[in-house]
Symmetry: C3
Subunit: 517 residues, 3 copies
């Protein structure tokens, strides 16, 4: 915004008319700051709302993917995620993530603004003080936290206790996830690219959270799935002997899966472009526009790649060309997860490469999990963990100097993606090193906190439901019955009505017989 | 916006350069006004679209809640709501609500701008004349009117005639609801906080419509349910003798219910923050940001409260811990309804309290209706009526002076919530009195208009469907058959195809036999 | 934006204080340009996202409309549409549509910016150079292209080969559709109203694409349906003899249809108002506001008209009043399609007329197709083709001079809708002629390209699936099985669990027996 100098101006030149002209300009600039502030708040309201709607996307995708007997259970978990995320992140998570992040010394965790208590009610834009900006910033970040939590729900579906779910989702959104956020996104995080003195001169570039959100959620899901064990009958028979071929449980509703996929893709237009956190500046606009394009291209490429790759593999085996919707959906989501870290710093063609590799990473990691007999009910680990990691590393390869300068700083742009450095004959792998370290850090931190957590939970018998309850399904055992009742009306009555309508006389016309109409 | 004084300026100082500088500043300010006007129109387009999408949320929630035999019927009603709301509110409702609302004398009802005929095509921002602002204002308000109408649909589902539904939804959106809007939101409404001389110096604070929208819809639903009577078999047996225990009809699809809940929650981010009606000012931005946060916290708290309260009660009775999705969903919606009035004037911690009480109010009022044998097919009355009333009253308790000043006026802030007045040692209950009066006024007005209306409709036999039609379900009797046809393909043909695929020779390859491929 | 003259200013008056004042004003204006640029990018991100979500709407509407055995197939086609549209439009389609559209000579097709390669990374607003604006423009246009492609999917559902679908959707989004876009929307298109020298002094007014998008998609669907032939059993028996009465195949889920309809309506608030392409100007705001209103009114009127018209016709035949949801849904969509061309240039009352006629056009064209034994599985041809054409022509009748001046240019406004010209005693039918020519051009172009294309595809046996596969359904034959598995859990196990819960002792409490919990 225009620097305000009328006071100085007045001091040197007391001509009243010049001073008046200056004041008009000053007032105009102040008005502009008002408009810009409102615009940025609106932008985050829009983006945060779209990210919030991703909860519906996850709920539909997960519900569609499980068997009919566990639909209510998984959807309740998704709903409680959003609620727990809101309360946990409001009370402590946001404070741990961003509290006192303006301090210059690096810190492991934030420590102020619990319950948003630091946000006042005074508006003073001259002091850059608008509580609305602080509130909407929290809203946007809450939606991300809820996303991280909900990623886990699908993986452990059909066998995880409700109480265990509540425990870990609070632990995740209240502590584990905020620490990751603080390290990578807060101004004084130890890996943060927003740090005044970032590691290796650049820090970790994870624009919208391939690592921060998706890997954190996905790594938690992986740990949970390993400790929880597979669903009954998935890899082992009743005697615990491995089945010759793992049994696939059919999705109960592909319609819900596809609906969820589209809603998630839609929500990603808040997730990625919204991560500029502002729009009232030319660079923010340039970055947001790029993000929309790279997000689209990576999603499309991931979808096509995963599906056709699977078609080709299957056709070689069976001779029949089948088109697998699960591959298409999870391929699209894989492309979306993979582009999330680099959406603002890579060229559209690189988004194509990232999505393409993302589709293959999904296919490969999904097959690997089956081989390892780790049971992921919705394949969230290949989508969010594996492609989260790929997305973070891809930034270290494809980040373009010019785009890094726009999305981050000119200083950061001096350490760009390895392919660019290589192209310039440089040996600078600083960014790539930061990105690889980011992957290791997220794995290490989540492992260090979540492995003991789930281990203890499991030891105490609080993690997994009773086998009979699992067989019967959680809807009947814990939620008062099935999610669906499609029973048709009594046939005799239907026939009676149809006969009546056919004669068209039996039907008592409303005005002439008010009592029974 | 900067006051424009170049003409005066020129008069006193004809130095051409000063005048030129002033003109540049003036032009810049005019350009800023243009941008701000566009921004505000965009804001209401965004918010109104989200509120419109709530129609989909209600449709899914209601459809999921009813039995399979009435799905088409309830969804058609939801669709026609949106259409009837558009046509009724465009033709007369908007005129009654806001027509000539700039007049200084208080009025009971507006009386101009029927069919939006007052909106011209001339754009003159210097005169604050932008037809786009007027149009988008209507659009936003239409979406609210449609919401009020659609609340009723769920309560009277499974037994209300289509013709009755059309009659009352036009009556509601065209007359009953606009009068409430006029009284509380129009500049010359007799209870309006926007009045130059509001009652008790403050007027009713119902920011986004806990009272105006939700109570009005919910009260109509209550009256309708009472007069219409319960569904066959819900509280009475075939001989009209009360059942020892009321019979619960199972929801036909919990998936649709949860989808609807998420969509509604999402839509509320247009409903509440959007009610600032503008965003291009620092106070509007501050208020909108706060609204997003309070809305989130109240929804989360309401959900958790209602569900766990019901779990505890149930566990005491049966010894089994069950988690009830209906409680969770309606709890979230109750929190949302309850915070709607005060979202802009209460602190986040108060949103927690409002949501908590909202969850309990829902549980209690829902149980009360069952005791009174009033049959609400989707529990819309506890959610919208009871929590609408609670939300309005809560403002009288929790409204904070500083936030009232931002969202309303400094004058209004002199009469803040009773807990704050009490804390300051004041006995000023002006705001609380206004809020209580608002509740009574809505109940009184809706009762005075809707009770006779439904009574006559019922007397004429136009309200309730024929009992046989009710038993068979409205889909077969009025909408050409069931909403679902999940019949599988012929088994013999499936086996033939599978056999053919297995041999992989029987299948005629496309290129060599074009006719049948 | 304010013209910048400080340099000149300084040349004539070197008084430092005046120059300083000018610089402040200049800086302020530059800042304003920044904010406005960001705002416009945000606007297209919002609108494009909503249009993208229409993919979900089409998927739900189409999936709901088909039989249970083809649900996966149609939804996969809808998902691949979005992906193919992204890749095809990015690589070549966008270049054909808008490449080098600033050139002054008219051209048939664009020829630069393949793979968005013309978009640099430099931001220089003084030169009006913001890559974000270029990127987001592509994003918005991609969403439209994907819409055009997906319209076809529904019509040819249940019998079209996947490979054929992929071929034509790439051909459509990569070539056929971009040529139409270029001709009507590009600055150097030969029919374009944005042309410096438009045909008949006005050019074709198709604001958001009744013709460009909907007719193009709908005409393709019509051609495809004719060549592909009807589904087995729809119009002919097994021996190819026409059935006395065509057989209607029941929609498998009306819930999904209604959900899809609401999502589409919602998405239209991006489609129509978003077509201003900017919002940071008073005229853009005025136009966008109007668009929201006309869109709403036309949709509502179309819905009500089609449904009640069908009710009246049916009641005359059968004596029973039924309310047909398909009519209501497709009526709403017909109103939306019909208003798309003129949403920015007609008055709200004209939107009512356009929607009313749209509802009737739908009913009539749908009946006509059945008489012609052309099988449209979701009635996309009456909705998109017939009402697309009606919408284009309606502009030639109802376009109002004042609104045309705001949405287009003062020059264009000299040739307004025929009813206005008539009212002014003028015989000027220039606009109407342009509009009629537009309809003929779209039909001619699509016919000239698509008829040979589908003909060859059909000759090669690549278009239609094997009859047995069609009978069995495409889900089992190509997508590994049915979209739904609603099988309930084993009854014995359910009873065992209920018995256990009833005794409340058999259940092993978690803490005391960790192994099986």
């Amino acid at each position: 915004m225009a620097a305000m100098v009328c006071a100085d101006f007045n001091a040197t030149d007391s001509s009243s008319t010049n001073f008046a002209a200056c004041l008009i300009a000053e007032e105009s600039a102040a008005d502009l700051a008002d408009v810009a502030a409102g615009l940025d708040i609106f932008y985050l309201l829009f983006a945060g709302s779209l990210v919030f709607l991703m909860q519906a996307g996850f709920a539909m995708l997960c519900a569609g993917s499980v068997r009919q007997k566990n639909v209510k259970n998984i959807m309740l978990k998704n709903l409680l995620d959003a609620c727990g995320g809101a309360l946990g992140f409001w009370s402590i998570g946001f404070a741990f993530a961003y509290g006192s992040s303006n301090s210059e010394t690096k810190s492991f965790i934030g420590g102020s603004n619990f319950f948003l208590s630091d946000i006042g009610t005074t508006i003073d834009l001259a002091e850059d003080l608008n509580p609305g900006a602080a509130y909407i910033g929290f809203f946007f970040q809450f939606a991300f936290a809820a996303t991280a939590a909900t990623i886990v729900a699908g993986t452990v579906a059909e066998r995880c206790k409700m109480s265990a779910y509540l425990c870990y989702s609070i632990f995740l959104t209240g502590f584990v996830y905020p620490v990751v956020v603080h390290s990578i996104w807060a101004g004084n995080g130890f890996l943060s690219a927003f740090n005044q003195n970032p590691p290796l001169g650049v820090g970790v570039i994870d624009f919208a959270g391939s690592g921060v959100v998706h890997m954190t959620g996905g790594a938690t899901a992986l740990v949970a799935a390993k400790i929880l064990g597979p669903r009954i009958g998935r890899f082992y028979d009743a005697d615990g002997i491995p089945l010759p071929e793992p049994k696939s449980f059919p999705a109960h509703s592909v319609s819900l899966q596809i609906l969820g996929t589209f809603i998630l893709w839609f929500g990603w237009y808040g997730f990625n472009p919204g991560s500029t956190l502002a729009i009232a500046s030319p660079t923010a606009g340039a970055v947001a526009g790029l993000c929309a394009v790279t997000t689209t291209i990576a999603a499309a490429t991931g979808c096509v790649t995963a599906m056709f790759f699977s078609t080709i593999i299957e056709q070689r085996k069976t001779g029949e060309a089948t088109y697998d919707l699960t591959m298409a959906m999870n391929g699209a989501l894989s492309g979306l997860v993979a582009i999330t870290a680099g959406c603002s710093v890579v060229a559209p063609w690189a988004a194509l490469v990232i999505g393409f590799v993302g589709g293959l990473v999904y296919y490969g990691f999904s097959s690997l999990l089956v081989k390892l007999r780790i049971d992921d009910a919705v394949d969230a680990v290949p989508v969010h963990f594996a492609n989260g990691a790929w997305g973070v590393i891809a930034v270290g390869l494809f980040a373009e100097p010019g785009r890094m300068a726009a999305a981050y700083t000119d200083a950061a742009a001096e350490h760009s993606g390895w392919f660019y450095e290589w192209g310039q004959g440089s040996a600078d792998a600083s960014l790539l090193a930061c990105q690889v370290f980011c992957v290791l850090w997220v794995i290490g931190w989540v492992g260090a906190t979540m492995i003991p957590f789930f281990f203890v939970l499991n030891m105490l018998g609080l993690f997994r439901v009773d086998p009979l309850e699992e067989e019967v399904g959680l809807d009947i055992s814990h939620h008062k019955g099935s999610a669906y009742d499609l029973s048709a009306p009594d046939k005799d009555q239907v026939e009676e009505l149809l006969a009546r309508q056919a004669t068209a006389h039996g039907k008592v016309e409303a005005p002439s017989a008010g009592e029974d109409a």
